[in-house]
Structures are given as C-alpha cells and as structure tokens.
C-alpha cells in the first residue's frame, strides 16, 4: 500500500501543478479548502481529500459559494484555499471584487486555472486581467515546484498585506509533472473569529476608506515586488531581453538559453522598479506570454518602450517551444523530417452505455433539439444526434430557452428543450428555472441526472449522496426542489428505456405549460455493471438498415455492409441497440448478474 503524502516530509518527487498546489496548501498550514470541479483545476481538491487529512476540503455547489465559504473561514482566522477553472472565477467574481476591499484575516489563496488553447473550455479568457480589475495580487508559477512554493508566498502576502491572492495557473502548469522537493507541514493556528464592522461591512462610508487602502496596498506590494524572490532577472546576453511569465518562461529557457530574461512571478501589481532596471540593461525586448498581452500592454504604457510581443507571438491558443523559437530565433527552427498527415479527426464521444445517449437519440428521432449546457452532454451536438444548438455558460440552457420563447413564442420555439446535467442545474440552473416559472414560460427543461459530475472525471455533488471524501451526505431531492420552484409537471424517466423516453418527450413538448423531465440513470463511471454479456449482431437477420448506427455508440462500427459490436467497448447494462433494431438482429442477455 502506497503511503499517504501527509506521512512524507522530505525528499523529491514528481508532481503535477495541481498536486503541487495541494501539497503547498498542506505544508503552509491551510485549514480549509472549497471548490467546484472544473478542468484543469479539479485535481487540486481531489488531491487534498486523498492525501492531506489535516485540511478540511469540500465541494461547493458553485464557485461563488466556494469562495464565500472560504472567505468566512478566513474571517475566522484560518488559512484557506479556493480553486476553480478560469470561467469559474466569473461566477465567483462578485465575492472576489469586494473581498479585495475587505482583505484577509487568515491567508486567502484563490486558484484560477486558465485554459489557453481551450482544451476543455468554452473560452480563452486571461484571468490576470480579472486579478488586475479586482485589484488583488496575482502570482504565476512556471512549474510544479513554484506552484507549491507560491502557495506559501501567497498566504504570506495575503496576511502581510491584507489581500486575497490569485494564483493563476494554466493547463500546462496544472497537468504537467515536474520535480518537487517536499517539506513538513507548518501548523498555523486558527486565530478565531473577531467581529470588525469597519473591515467587513462595505457600506459606502466604510468602502471609501477600504478603497483608499486597496490603492495604497497595490503601491506597497509593487515596491516590495522589486526586491522579492518571485520576480528575477537572469542576466545573459544583453543584446536580447525577454520578459515572460508562467509556462512561457520554460519555453523561453528551452529555445533561448543565452538571452537575458526577466521572469515575472508577481504579475499584479507589477514590480516597476525591477522592470525599469531590466529595460535599461538590454538592447532589445521581446514579451513572451500566452493569450492576452498583459505584461506587454502594461509595461509599454508605463515606460513607452518599443518592443515586440503580440506582433510576433500569437494571442490566440497555447504557446509551445516551436512557436516561441520561430518568433524569437526564426533561423533556428528544427527540421521537420516527416510531414503532417491528413487523418480523420478523433473527437470525444459519449461513452458506450452513456445514459445521455438515449435522451439525445429520442430527441433527434422526434426532430427535436436543445439549448445546451456545460457537461458531457454538450456532446449531444455531434453527429449522429445533432441535438444541441446553444451553449453559453453553466446554467444558461434554461435562460436561453426562456429567452427564445419570449422572442418567438411557444410556436417559434418548435421542439427545443433545455438540456442540463444535474450538477450544472444545482450550480446555476435553479435560478433560471425560477425565472421561467415566475415569468410564465411554457418550455421543457430536461435535467440529465447521471448522479455524477462526469465531464471533469467523476466527482460527487449535492445530489449523489456522497461528499468529496466519499463519505455519506444528504441527497438533494431534485423532484421536490423543482416542484418547490413552482413547476407543476415533473416526471422521471430512465433514458435507456427508449419507448418511454420518446413518449415523455412527445407529451411534454405538446404541453402548454412549463415542465421538467428528469432523465435518471447513473454514469457508467459511477458504478460497476450489474449484468454481464454484450450485444451480438446476427448477420443473417440484419437488413443493413443502419438504425443502430443512429445511436452514435462508439462500440458499434460499420464494416461496409453490417454493424459490428466491439466486445471491448460494449457496456453490459445497456441494450439500446437491441431496442432500436427493427428485425431483432441484435441480441443480448439482460438477465445474468455479473
């Protein structure tokens, strides 16, 4: 049995950036952590729960609540951490901006995991800009060791300067592994709650004084930042000076080891004195940073210098060593021996046995579609279902459906329903549903309850009956909740029961009142199959009608004439292909227990 990491207090091991943040929280005395799962940040809280019993860690229903709970624990004098993906910080922006005024009693670290390249996100926002707008400190690590160390720095800055600190990671920091030297946990006692109205109630009379303090704080930290170890000049050949931060620093060192480098670890407020020194030291400056020209614009505006940055480094997408090499040293690009080969794309697909498949199959069959949301079921947009037409943000499926009805009426809305997962519904869908009830909408909301926050890898949520640590937790009753919102017509259906699923869609789409369909069947990641045996095609009976292909099941492939079902991929508890076949050419034993 592998030893838990909280029993090891020295040595060097390979950790991802997320694991390193969890380790940093443990070593630097964090008492409490709260988050909502979101790629690429999810493993931070998972690691804390698995390895570090000394930290009380929990999933929040959404990022706003996660940050508020953490703020309360800080008010009571505990060191705290809240983690989220970049768009999660939009949800938590309301508490963030005022928490900036209030400050921190116990140190507050807020982790924002940005996703340049949009590996798993709907936009590419650069949260250094949010940190600046909120007037909080922003730190940017460039590897796992720094990610761990910067959690400690962040907590110290937070307490010394009375400010929340944003630790801005990116996908390549979160999900890359590099060497980390471990240390012991340093216990930091919880100070205890002491009320302080002037500090924590930002009525205008108090908030004006708070704002003055915030502006002074930024000046103080900028001056301190010129001397601190978070920022450093690596002096090399002074004919070229590169200003960089985060993962871009590693690419710069890879392709330009001789250049002088100003490595920024403290991105807000910027260390002006140090930057000025660097500008005076080198002949030519290049800014190498991912996504927005944050360093470039701020530094150019302050010092009115001529320099390359986004003129040669792409603003869109993720950077990598070849992009940085091409921009900084165009003559040294590596020879490509083997050219790129055009291949069919391999996009993700709903898993074989996925409960969402039944719902999208039936919706598509009836000529319906959906306003969509954020989760695995966003894949409902893909062929062969083509049954999802909008996605904005967590919870927006409901508001968007409501708005379409307001613009074009029930008739114009046609066969659109809202498609939202149970975790996303709890996160941000409830208020949308209340809006539909309150404002007289008549549409149908489909809550796709697979008893798991699935797309982020399978996390518990308030509807699953377990908490982050896998311990029993009260189950949020979705039917009662929906009824309490004022919805009169609520039904629950097994999405693998295709005739029933189809019947329910028909009924609800024709109803002149608001209704909620809860499609309920657990995600295949949530349990071991109850049955055994897989579906088999009888080629003698098969009439090559291709109806089974309309399920879009990855286990079913077409050999040119007949379907084939992969014994490796077929999910034993699913028999949707058996139901779909019009000539009983697909059979499966659904009786046996595994």
């Amino acid at each position: 049995m592998r030893k838990k990491l909280n029993t090891i207090d020295k040595g060097t091991i390979l950790l991802s950036g997320n694991e390193a943040v969890a380790r940093g929280a443990w070593e630097h005395g964090v008492h409490f952590a709260s988050a909502y799962p979101g790629t690429p940040s999810t493993e931070i809280l998972e690691t804390i729960a698995e390895e570090y019993d000394e930290i009380d860690a929990q999933w929040a229903p959404n990022e706003k609540v996660g940050l508020e709970v953490v703020a309360g624990a800080s008010f009571a004098g505990a060191r705290v951490l809240s983690a989220m993906k970049h768009v999660g910080l939009n949800v938590a922006a309301d508490p963030l901006f005022t928490l900036s005024y209030i400050g921190a009693t116990g140190g507050i670290v807020i982790v924002s995991a940005d996703d340049p390249g949009m590996h798993s996100s709907q936009n590419e926002q650069d949260n250094r800009l949010i940190g600046k707008a909120a007037k909080v400190v922003v730190l940017e690590p460039s590897d796992s060791q720094e990610a761990k160390d910067m959690v400690g720095e962040a907590l110290k800055i937070s307490e010394d300067f009375d400010t929340p600190v944003l630790l801005r990671l990116t996908t390549r920091i979160c999900h890359s592994k590099s060497m980390v030297t471990l240390g012991p946990r340093k216990e930091v006692p919880v100070k205890g709650y002491v009320g302080d109205i002037k500090k924590r109630v930002p009525i205008p009379a108090h908030a004006r004084a708070m704002h003055s303090r915030v502006e002074q704080r930024l000046k103080d930290i900028s001056a301190w930042g010129a001397e601190c170890s978070l920022n450093r000049i690596e002096e090399g050949d002074t004919s070229l000076g590169i200003i960089t931060s985060g993962i871009s620093y590693q690419y710069v060192k890879e392709v330009s080891p001789e250049a002088s480098v100003l490595k920024i670890g403290l991105s807000n407020p910027l260390p002006w004195n140090l930057i000025e020194k660097f500008i005076n030291m080198v002949d030519r400056i290049i800014f190498v940073e991912e996504n927005d020209p944050y360093l470039e614009e701020n530094i150019k505006a302050r010092f009115l210098i001529e320099a390359d940055g986004k003129s040669i480094i792409p603003l869109e997408g993720e950077l990598n060593p070849q992009i940085v090499r091409k921009a900084v040293h165009p003559g040294t690009t590596k020879e490509i021996t083997f050219s790129e080969i055009q291949l069919p794309a391999r996009p993700p697909a709903l898993c074989a046995g996925c409960p969402h498949r039944g719902a999208f199959y039936c919706l598509s069959k009836l000529g319906g579609s959906s306003t969509g949301d954020i989760g695995c079921y966003t894949l409902g947009l893909m062929p062969p279902h083509n049954a999802l037409e909008t996605t904005v943000c967590m919870g927006a499926s409901i508001g968007v459906l409501a708005g379409i009805e307001k613009a074009v009426g029930r008739e114009g809305m046609g066969k659109l329903v809202a498609a939202i997962g149970e975790s996303t519904f709890v996160h941000s869908g409830i208020t949308g549903l209340i809006d539909m009830v309150y404002n007289g909408n008549t549409g149908t909301v489909m809550i796709m309850d697979n008893s798991l926050t699935a797309m982020t890898g399978g996390q518990e949520n308030p509807t699953t009956g377990k908490n982050l640590r896998g311990e029993p937790a009260p189950v949020l009753d979705l039917e009662k909740l929906v009824k309490a919102c004022g919805v009169k017509h609520v039904c629950v259906v097994d999405p693998h029961d295709l005739p029933e699923m189809e019947k329910v869609f028909k009924e609800e789409m024709n109803r002149d009142e608001l209704s909620v369909i809860i499609t309920r069947r657990p995600c295949i990641m949530a349990y071991k199959p109850i049955r055994k045996g897989i579906a088999v095609v009888d080629p003698e009976k098969c009439i090559s009608c291709k109806l089974c292909m309309k399920l879009g099941c990855p286990a079913i492939t077409w050999d040119g004439e007949k379907p084939e079902i992969s014994k490796h991929l077929c999910w034993p508890d699913c028999n949707m292909c058996v139901q779909v076949c019009p000539v009983d050419a697909i059979s499966k034993d659904m009786g046996g227990q595994s």
Binding site: L14, T39, P40, T42, E43, H119, S120, D143, T171, R172, H175, S176, K177, S178, M179, I247, Q250, Y251, K253, E254, V255, N320, P321, Q322, R325, K334, E335, I336, T337, F338, S339, E340, I341, L343, P344, A345, R346, P347, P348, A349, L350, C351, C376, L379, M382, P383, P384, M455, T456, G457, M549, G552, P554, I556, T557, W558, H568
Partner: protein
C-alpha cells in the same frame, strides 16, 4: 550521450496512456534524470485522441516536446501513430500497436479510416507495428496492452531494465504486478531489437 530524450505516448482515451507515461517517468527518475511530462485531461478523454509528452535528461525546461525532436513516439492505436509524425526527429522511431479503433467521425460516415500501412510505406515512416493485443490476450489480460508496448520500446531508451521493472512495481497495483511484469518481458523479448 545526448542530454535530453523526448518521447510522445499517444492513442485514444481509455487505453492506459497515462499509466504508460507514469511508468516511463518513474523509470527515467530511477535512472537519475530530471523528468517532466505533460498531458491534457478532460474533454480529450471519452474516446478522443490523447497524448502524453515525456522528456528526461540532465535538466529539462519545457514539458512539451518540440516538433522534429521526438526520439520515440509510442502509439497505442494504429492510425494515431501517424498524427504526431511531424514531431519525430530524423533519427526517431515510431512504435505502434496494430489495433484499429474507429473514430466516431468514421462511424457516422464523415470520414474513412485510412490505410495506415500504405501511408507508412508512402511517407517512408520508421514505424514498427506490434500485435500487442494478441500478446495481452495470450497473457490473459487485455489491460496489459500498454505494458507490452512499454516493453517493446524499452531497449530504445537510455534506461536500464532494472529501472523499468522497479518502475512497474512502483506504479502497478500489487495484484496485477505479475501479469504486468510478464507483459513487459514479453514485449521486450519479442520486439526489443
């Protein structure tokens, strides 16, 4: 000795790419290297293309392999072996499982699964195809396909056999250890040359 070794392990979601790259990292660490690796989680799973970059040597900066620099590409799926070809160094090797997994774009009739052997010949790609699924079936456990492949590529990397087996012991659950070590040896014996 070359200071940095660059490896890309690729395939489709659910094929054990992450475990394979964990084993490689653990072996490279035991051999006394600095190590970095990088992969992307989330949407790329669910049967999509998955890749893991592993770099080791005296000192590593970028966790990503640069185009034209991979000493080795190990693919768990036949067609996926071709996707990363521009990353291969002039001297690089490409080892792939001969398993074909049909992408959804092919299932839905939006694309055709290519004739991989024909492309390998036409592009003169240094590919070795390995029937790792058959070997895993012989060993009685389909989940060790990835470790058969690790065994097959192991002699091409500057890591001693002892470090490989220690890495497998470190990364594989005890009850699956025996079959995984067998898979490694089988892969190394049959295709290691």
């Amino acid at each position: 000795m070359k200071s940095v070794t660059n490896v890309i392990i690729c395939g489709t979601g659910g094929q054990g790419i992450l475990l394979a790259s964990e084993v490689l990292c653990a072996a490279a660490l035991r051999a006394g290297n600095d190590v970095k690796k990088s992969e992307v989680h989330g949407m790329s799973q669910r049967g999509g293309s998955v890749s893991s970059h592993v770099r080791f040597g005296e000192k590593i900066y970028s966790p990503l392999v640069e185009k034209g620099c991979a000493d080795l590409i190990l693919s768990m799926e036949k067609m996926e072996s071709l996707r990363w070809s521009p990353y291969l160094a002039p001297h690089g090797k490409l080892v792939a499982c001969d398993l074909e997994i049909t992408p959804m774009t092919v299932n839905t009739g939006h694309a055709e699964y290519p004739d991989v052997n024909e492309i390998i010949e036409k592009e003169n790609l240094p590919v070795t195809l390995i029937p790792a699924v058959e070997i895993a079936e012989e060993l009685g456990n389909l989940r060790v396909v990835n470790v058969v492949l690790i065994g097959a590529v192991s002699p091409h990397l500057p890591i001693d056999e002892a470090h490989w087996t220690q890495a497998i012991e470190e990364r594989v659950p005890p009850k699956a250890l025996k079959v995984n070590l067998e898979a490694f040896r089988k892969g190394r014996e049959l295709f290691g040359n």
